[in-house]
Symmetry: C2
Subunit: 335 residues, 2 copies
C-alpha cells in the first residue's frame, strides 16, 4: 500500500484523504473512544494523557508525612538564616514558581538557573533543568544544602526543628518507631511526600477525559498546529514534556552558551547544550522562560523554540494559536 502522502500526489486526493482520515479516526477511536473530538484526530492525542488527581494518602502515617511536608514547605526555618522557605521561590498561588528571571536564596545569592514550577513534579522523568536528580527526596536534600538556596546543614536543620515542639510531635507521628525522628533525611522525605500531591488539573485534562467543549475551537486548532509544526517530537506525555533530554539549539545554535546544560555535569561532547525538555503545563502562568529566564513573553518563547529547535520561522497566526492551546494547559492547584 502506498502511503497517503504519495496518494495525495495522484488524483482523487480529497476522497482518499477523507477515507484515510476516517480509517485513522476509526482505529484511534477503538483505542481511545473517550477522546472523540470533531476537530482533533484521535491518534494525535495518544501521546498525551490527563493527570490523575493525587491519590489520597495510603494510611494515617502517609497522611501525617504529607501534612508535615506541607508545613516544612512553607517554613523559612528550614534555611540557614531562617528567611527562605520553599514557597519563596515555588509560590503555590503562582503555579509553583516566582516569576523572577532567577530567584534569590540565602544571603541573597542567586541560583544559576530559573526556578522551575514545583507542580506536577511527581510525574517527571527527571528533575531540574539538567535532570541531575530523579528522586524528590534527593532533590529536597540538595536544595536544603545548596549554598545558593537554603544553605543549611543536616545538623543545623535537625537542631532548629527539634526545638519546635509542634515539629517534634509531627515528625514522631510521621516517622513512628524511629529513634531520632526529627532528622534532615526525614524532613526531605516529608517534603517529597508533600510534593507528590502537588498536581494541577485543568481544562486540558477534562478534554482528554472526554469533554470536547472543555477546549475552544481556537485552542483545538492550536493543538493541531503544535503537532504539525513538530513541537510534539519533544513535548508529549502527561506533562507535555519532562519525558526526555534534548539539545537546545538543535537546528539553529542557541544564542547563549554560557550555561551548557548537562555538559556542565558530564563533560561529554554529546551533552553539550542538552537540557531536560521542560514540561508545558501552566506555561502561560510561569514566565519568564528557558533555563536562564531570559524570555518574558510566551509568544516570543514559542517563536524561539520553533526557530532554534525546528528551524521554522512561524507565521504570527500560528504563534497565536499555539499560545492559545498552551493556555488551556493551565490547571487548578490541587487542594
Amino acid at each position: 500500500m502506498r502511503p497517503p502522502w504519495r496518494r495525495r500526489r495522484a488524483g482523487a486526493a480529497l476522497l482518499l484523504g477523507l477515507l484515510a482520515a476516517g480509517a485513522t479516526l476509526g482505529i484511534a477511536r477503538a483505542v481511545k473512544g473517550r477522546r472523540a473530538s470533531p476537530l482533533i484526530d484521535g491518534e494525535r492525542l495518544a501521546s498525551f494523557s490527563s493527570l490523575p488527581p493525587p491519590s489520597p494518602p495510603a494510611d494515617p502515617v502517609a497522611a501525617r508525612r504529607v501534612a508535615l511536608g506541607r508545613s516544612l514547605f512553607a517554613d523559612p526555618r528550614v534555611s540557614k538564616n531562617g528567611d527562605v522557605s520553599c514557597t519563596r521561590c515555588h509560590a503555590l498561588d503562582a503555579w509553583g514558581a516566582d516569576g523572577k528571571r532567577v530567584s534569590r536564596g540565602s544571603d541573597d545569592r542567586e541560583p544559576p538557573r530559573n526556578t522551575p514550577s514545583i507542580y506536577n513534579v511527581g510525574g517527571f522523568f527527571a528533575l531540574l533543568w539538567d535532570g541531575r536528580q530523579t528522586d524528590l527526596t534527593a532533590q529536597a536534600r540538595e536544595v536544603l544544602l545548596s549554598p545558593r538556596t537554603m544553605a543549611t546543614t543536616p545538623e543545623r536543620l535537625a537542631q532548629t526543628l527539634s526545638a519546635v515542639p509542634s515539629y517534634s510531635d509531627a515528625f514522631t507521628h510521621a516517622f513512628p518507631g524511629e529513634k531520632e525522628p526529627v532528622s534532615f533525611d526525614n524532613a526531605a522525605r516529608a517534603l517529597a511526600a508533600y510534593e507528590e500531591t502537588l498536581v494541577t488539573r485543568g481544562r486540558w485534562d477534562r478534554f482528554l477525559e472526554g469533554e470536547p467543549s472543555a477546549l475552544t475551537d481556537q485552542e483545538k486548532a492550536g493543538f493541531n498546529r503544535f503537532v504539525e509544526v513538530g513541537c510534539v517530537a519533544c513535548h508529549f506525555g502527561p506533562n507535555v514534556g519532562a519525558t526526555m533530554f534534548q539539545k537546545v539549539g538543535l537546528v539553529k545554535a542557541w544564542p547563549n552558551t554560557r550555561d551548557r546544560g548537562r555538559y556542565e555535569i558530564t563533560k561529554r561532547d554529546s551533552d553539550w547544550m542538552v537540557f531536560r525538555v521542560p514540561p508545558l503545563r501552566n506555561v502561560a502562568r510561569t514566565a519568564p522562560y528557558f533555563h536562564d529566564g531570559s524570555i518574558a513573553s510566551l509568544p516570543e518563547a514559542i517563536r524561539m523554540m520553533a526557530h532554534h529547535q525546528i528551524g521554522r520561522d512561524l507565521e504570527e497566526d500560528d504563534v497565536t494559536l499555539i499560545a492559545a492551546w498552551l493556555g488551556s494547559l493551565t490547571g487548578d492547584p490541587s487542594p
Copy 2:
C-alpha cells in the same frame, strides 16, 4: 541580549550573522577542536560521535568466548531443524541484514518485523524494533527460542552442541570451571560476546575524528540539511539513532497501523505506534526500510520520514543531499 533570529530581523543582518557564527564556531572549537570543518558548524557535530573500534578481548577466556560466539553465529545447528543460522538473516557481508522485507525462520515461518542489522548493537540503548530487550544475552535467548526464528529449546540446543566434540572443547575453555559448560545460557552469552565486537567504522568516523576530507562537500551539505530539516531531533548519537523511542506518524498519521509498536507489549495509549528510533549507520546498504520492510528506496524512506515525522514535504534536492550524507554512514565490518 536578543537572540540572533531577532537580530537578523533588524538591520546589519549580515555582519551580525557573521559575528554570531564566528562566536559559535569559536565556542564549538574550544569543545571539539579536532572537528574543525569549513562546511559544518562544529556545534552541530556535538550530538554525534565516532564508534570506537571494538576493544580486544580482556583476557584469553574472553577471547575464547568471542571465538565460540563467532562459530555459533554462523552455525545452523542452533536452530530446531538445523537449517537456520544467525547469519541467514544477519548476513555479515551484507551489513548484518538480509535485504528481505521480512526474513524466514524455522519451518519457513516469518518473524513479524523486518530484520534489523546486527552491526553496532553493542551501543544501542535498546534492541529490536520495539526495544523490548536491552541485553544482548537475553536477546540471543529470545531469538533462539522464538518459534518464528530458531524455534529450538534449551534442552535441544545443549544436546545438539554437546554431541559436537569441537563445541564441547570450545565451551569448556570459554566457560572454565563450570560443571556443565555446554548450556543454552552459555551459548547465548557467547553469542552476545561476539555481537559486541561487530562494529562498522567508516568515513563518518574518520570525519568526526578530524579528517575533513573523509566526506565530500555534497555529503557535508547533506548533513547540514539533515540537521536543518529536523531529523536530528531523533537521530543522533554514535549510531545516529538507537538512543530513544518515538512515535511513527508523529505529525501525519502513519499509513499502516497493523503493527502498533510498543503498544503491542504495554497496551498503554502513550505507546501507540511508538518504536525505537532506528540507528542509521549502514542505512544505504540495509534496505528495505521501516519495521515492516515496506519501503525499498532510501530516497522514499527519507521523504516519508520528513512527511510523517516532521510534516515537511522535502524538495528533491534535499532528499538527494540527505541520501548522500547517509551514504557516508556506511562502514567496514570489523575484522
